[in-house]
């Protein structure tokens, strides 16, 4: 009985009767490859790869923006860029790197790995997952369309957003930035937030509810734990910025007074709401990387993670304390002594759980057999660099000292150490580590190591001098500086370092592309891994597991490798049981998620310019964008409705004893 339910309720919904005569607006696509296959996919691995591909593209774009920034600052009083362009560049650099590069890269790994690590066939809500992806794309488009006005005068967006990545009110009010770019920034972030919330809800349910038998919470791989904490942070932190963005949007479009001083508004409220989100956000960026590192270090030390429960607990603690420290970004806004002191102390407290992680990673290395493969080098680089970044964070937390550091290059140094030395290093480690799993090919060691050293050296040359620039009084977000300030050499070194770093990044990705086509074919388990994803073929088949595994220990695969007979028998039984009740159920692809996202694009794009007339072919078509905005929202609602009627659908896979997979639809 329970098995029967299992089969149906796997996708969580109603089971359609056998002979269905649904009036279908769009036939459910079945193509697994090709454009349609990718656009309508609900397979978590494909969605993960799409996330990853887009994110890497935007990482390069953000990096290019950074290189332009560094080029402008290479000498004093430079005229390479105009002030306005520079402001657009750093705004978009920050926004891109955070929302369009690191977050989606993490989302990519969530998608790729969570179902594999918990032993599931997909996420809990596969179509919702595809919706998150396409909504994210909508947000990325909205944020970046502004660039077009630099190339096509007809697009009057007023350039890319230029309010800084935290868009402090009242600079975002219509009086100071009347351009459309700011509206697009507001809507872009809002849409990205929606995407993240939806995706996170999905991951939370997947991790909590779709664990394979025997996989208790305290056996969950650390990466998955960190993904869970991150997802919680996302659903709890994003609402704050969502409300703040709504308020700005109302201020800009409907004359409300939230941040309008003449009406009694207090712009500081924006800062509070932003950082209530913004600080947890930085842990959203770093916790998944801590997860990657916690997977990679044990693998290459050939030892389990030291102090697993404490690492997990400290991750949760970081997430929790992270909600109580937001005002450390506002030490200079005159919070009052008590609040300043309270937030300073709370901020320092975060060093403790973070330190615990560092200590346990060292504990993991201790007594191991360290194999310095490329992922391991990035992971070790992560520990070193993140520690340095954490220390400058502690320096910030001493509020009176921060009065000198805030908005100076010292902050830039701090957060690039944690964001690049931390998050990015770990991501590069992760990409390298899991590349063989998802593409079935190895990345050559030599080129990997070369790119590591280029990146490591370039990174330190770029950002180490920035500490000194900051202490020497160089403010951030300045498009130019004078030659008598003592900043010339530091900036020159930093810019040269940035080029080196760029070269390293270029090498890294060029090698990946080469390996994709020409790399040595990897086996299922090239690194002698410890978690479940290494137990299945590379690249993983559509259904992930021929049989849902039963988990017996914390490092599930490691355990299986050392208890092979027992496991083999268990496996065979599982396969048989599954086949006896109809085979492996797989969800159907669907058009509706992407159509809904398209509706959202039309809706938000037009809502952003509500008060402008719609012009086409030099003619005013509508007096406002309202009709188009409503059209977009109607598409969205209709698509969601059809989506709910469509049901999860599905087909079955049957695995023959010789491993051949066949597909069956309908009757069973």
């Amino acid at each position: 009985m329970a098995e029967a339910i299992a089969k149906h309720a796997y996708t969580g919904g109603a089971h359609a009767p056998v002979k269905k005569a649904t009036f279908e607006l769009f036939a459910r696509p079945t193509a697994k490859t090709g454009l349609v296959g990718w656009l309508t996919t609900v397979d978590h691995k494909k969605i993960g790869m799409l996330y990853g591909g887009f994110a890497i593209f935007f990482f390069l774009v953000g990096g290019l923006e950074a290189l332009l920034i560094r080029t402008q600052l290479i000498v004093p009083n430079n005229h390479f860029l105009e002030a306005q362009t520079y402001n657009e560049l750093f705004t978009m650099h920050g926004t891109t790197m955070i929302f369009l590069a690191v977050m989606p890269l993490n989302a990519a790994f969530f998608n790729l790995l969570i179902p594999l690590q918990v032993g599931a066939r997909d996420v809990a809500f596969p179509r919702l997952n595809s919706f998150s992806l396409w909504v994210w794309v909508v947000g990325a488009i909205l944020l970046n369309v502004g660039w077009l006005s630099h190339f096509v005068p007809a697009w009057k967006f007023g350039g890319a957003p230029s309010v800084g990545w935290f868009g402090y009110a009242p600079l975002t009010s219509k009086a100071f930035t009347p351009q459309l770019s700011t509206d697009l920034w507001v809507f872009g972030l809002q849409v990205l937030g929606l995407s993240s919330i939806v995706a996170s809800l999905n991951f939370i349910v997947t991790i909590i509810n779709m664990r394979a038998p025997g996989l208790t919470m305290m056996r969950l791989p650390v990466f998955t734990w960190m993904a869970l904490v991150t997802s919680f942070l996302l659903i709890l932190a994003l609402p704050a910025i969502a409300i703040a963005l709504v308020e700005v949007m109302f201020d800009r479009n409907f004359g409300t007074n939230f941040f309008e001083v003449s009406g009694g508004g207090q712009p500081i409220l924006w800062q509070h709401l932003f950082w209530v989100f913004g600080h947890p956000e930085v842990y959203i960026l770093i916790l998944p990387p801590m997860g990657y590192v916690s997977e990679i270090l044990p693998t290459f030390s050939r030892k389990p993670l030291f102090g697993y429960p404490i690492i997990v607990f400290s991750g949760v603690a970081i997430g929790f304390i992270g909600f109580g420290v937001w005002s450390h970004h506002m030490f200079t806004t005159g919070l009052g002594n008590v609040a300043t002191a309270a937030f300073a102390l709370a901020t320092m407290a975060i060093a403790v759980p973070t330190g615990v992680k560092i200590f346990n990673w060292i504990g993991t290395l201790w007594g191991g057999q360290i194999m310095t493969r490329v992922p391991m080098m990035f992971a070790l680089g992560f520990i070193w660099m993140f520690m340095l970044g954490g220390f400058s964070g502690i320096m910030h937390s001493a509020a009176p000292a921060d009065a000198q550091q805030q908005d100076s290059y010292f902050v830039i140094a701090h957060f690039h150490y944690v964001l690049i030395g931390g998050a990015t290093f770990a991501l590069l480690a992760a990409i390298h580590y899991w590349f063989p799993k998802f593409f079935g090919r190895m990345v050559p060691e030599f080129w990997g190591k070369l790119s590591f050293w280029l990146i490591f050296i370039g990174f330190n040359c770029t950002f180490f001098p920035m500490h000194f620039l900051g202490l020497n009084g160089m403010p951030r977000r300045t498009w130019t500086y004078d030659s008598n300030m003592g900043w010339n050499e530091g900036n020159l070194v930093a810019s040269c370092g940035a080029y080196l770093l760029g070269l390293g990044i270029f090498t890294y990705f060029a090698v990946l592309i080469w390996s994709f086509f020409k790399g040595k074919v990897a086996g299922n388990d090239p690194w002698d891994g410890r978690t479940m994803e290494w137990s299945i073929p590379s690249p993983p088949p559509e259904h992930n597991f021929a049989a849902i595994p039963t988990v017996h220990a914390r490092d599930a695969w490691w355990y299986e490798k050392h208890h092979q007979e027992e496991i083999a028998q268990e496996r065979a039984e599982h396969i048989q049981a599954e086949e006896s009740h109809g085979g492996i159920h797989m969800p159907d692809q669907s058009w509706y998620p992407i159509i809904a996202a398209f509706g959202l694009l039309i809706g938000t794009y037009n809502m952003a310019q509500l008060h402008h007339p719609v012009e086409m072919f030099n003619k005013v078509i509508f007096a406002t964008h309202l009709p188009l905005a409503i059209t977009g929202l109607c598409i969205l609602v209709t698509a969601c409705y059809l989506w709910s009627l469509e049901g999860p659908g599905g087909y079955h896979l049957h695995i023959a004893p010789d491993g051949k997979v066949t597909e069956s639809r309908g009757d069973h």
Binding site: I5, F23, I197, L236, I243, N257
Partner: protein
């Protein structure tokens, strides 16, 4: 699998690791997130109440506490009906579920109508707009967001209601769509024009005047209502049944949440002003 062959335990799902159905978990997580949404909104409102600027609206001169208390009561009743709808479907009673869903929507509509009345009253009679005072900005945004939640709730309930008619043998998408349209039109007209109008009448406006003023929407509403009644008759076997209890329950969670948010708003935004 047959619905009478198995007892469906509505508090335990054997297919998930925790025994909590996926959908229920999703909605509870979403509600946790929604707490932060309203937390941020209510904070904004209260923060601006702490130190009001000159020229701010004076809430007690604007509010109509009788009407708001009545709305609160209405929303509580809708919660009751929602709970009963879940109760009914968990016992496999589709008929009763439909009635309860309609009832919930009806009360939701009354609440929304009350809010539409309140808003227009504040704007045109009390001269408090979204933009002429900070109180107006925060008040309308907070209660408006809540109202939007209610409206989305009504829409979701409408979709659920229509779905209970989905024939067992499939097909009928078009009819389904028309049905949903009828729901939208009827309830839309009810809360945008009819209910606020009736409140005016209670406060002394003339009914015939009202009819004349909104003749077109009212006509549309009546057409919608007739369509609803016509389409609402049972036509053969339906797919919807006890196994869908989780779907109804999920929407129920949302609906009750909107209710508890109002419990807080009612105290924090309205009642406390009277002290």
């Amino acid at each position: 699998m047959n619905s009478h062959a198995a007892t469906i335990d509505h508090h335990h799902d054997a297919t998930t690791a925790t025994g909590i159905p996926n959908k229920k978990l999703l909605w509870w997580a979403f509600l946790a997130s929604d707490c932060m949404f309203f937390g941020a909104l209510i904070s904004t409102h209260l923060v601006y109440r702490l130190n009001p600027p000159p020229g701010n609206a004076v809430p007690t001169q604007i509010f109509n506490i009788e009407l708001t208390s009545f709305s609160t009561f209405i929303l509580l009743m809708s919660s009751l009906l929602m709970a009963l709808a879940v109760n009914a479907i968990q016992r496999g009673n589709v008929r009763s579920t439909r009635t309860m869903l309609l009832g919930t929507m009806f009360f939701g509509c009354l609440f929304l109508g009350g809010q539409v009345f309140e808003f227009t009253h504040f704007v045109y009679v009390k001269k408090m707009t979204l933009s002429n005072s900070i109180f107006g900005s925060t008040f309308f945004t907070l209660t408006g967001t809540h109202g939007t939640h209610v409206a989305i709730g009504v829409l979701l309930l409408g979709m659920m209601y229509v779905r209970t008619f989905k024939p067992a043998q499939g097909g009928g998408l078009l009819l389904n769509f028309v049905h949903l349209l009828a729901v939208c039109v009827t309830f839309g007209v009810a809360f945008i024009w009819f209910v606020p109008g009736m409140i005016e009448v209670v406060y002394g406006a003339s009914f015939s005047e009202l009819l004349r003023e909104h003749a077109i929407p009212f006509a549309a509403g009546i057409v919608g209502l007739i369509a609803l009644i016509a389409l609402g008759r049972t036509r053969g076997a339906v797919e919807f049944g006890e196994k869908n209890a989780i779907d109804v329950e999920a929407i129920g969670l949302y609906w009750h949440f909107v209710d508890i948010v109002w419990i807080i708003i009612f105290t924090a935004v309205y009642l406390l002003e009277y002290l």
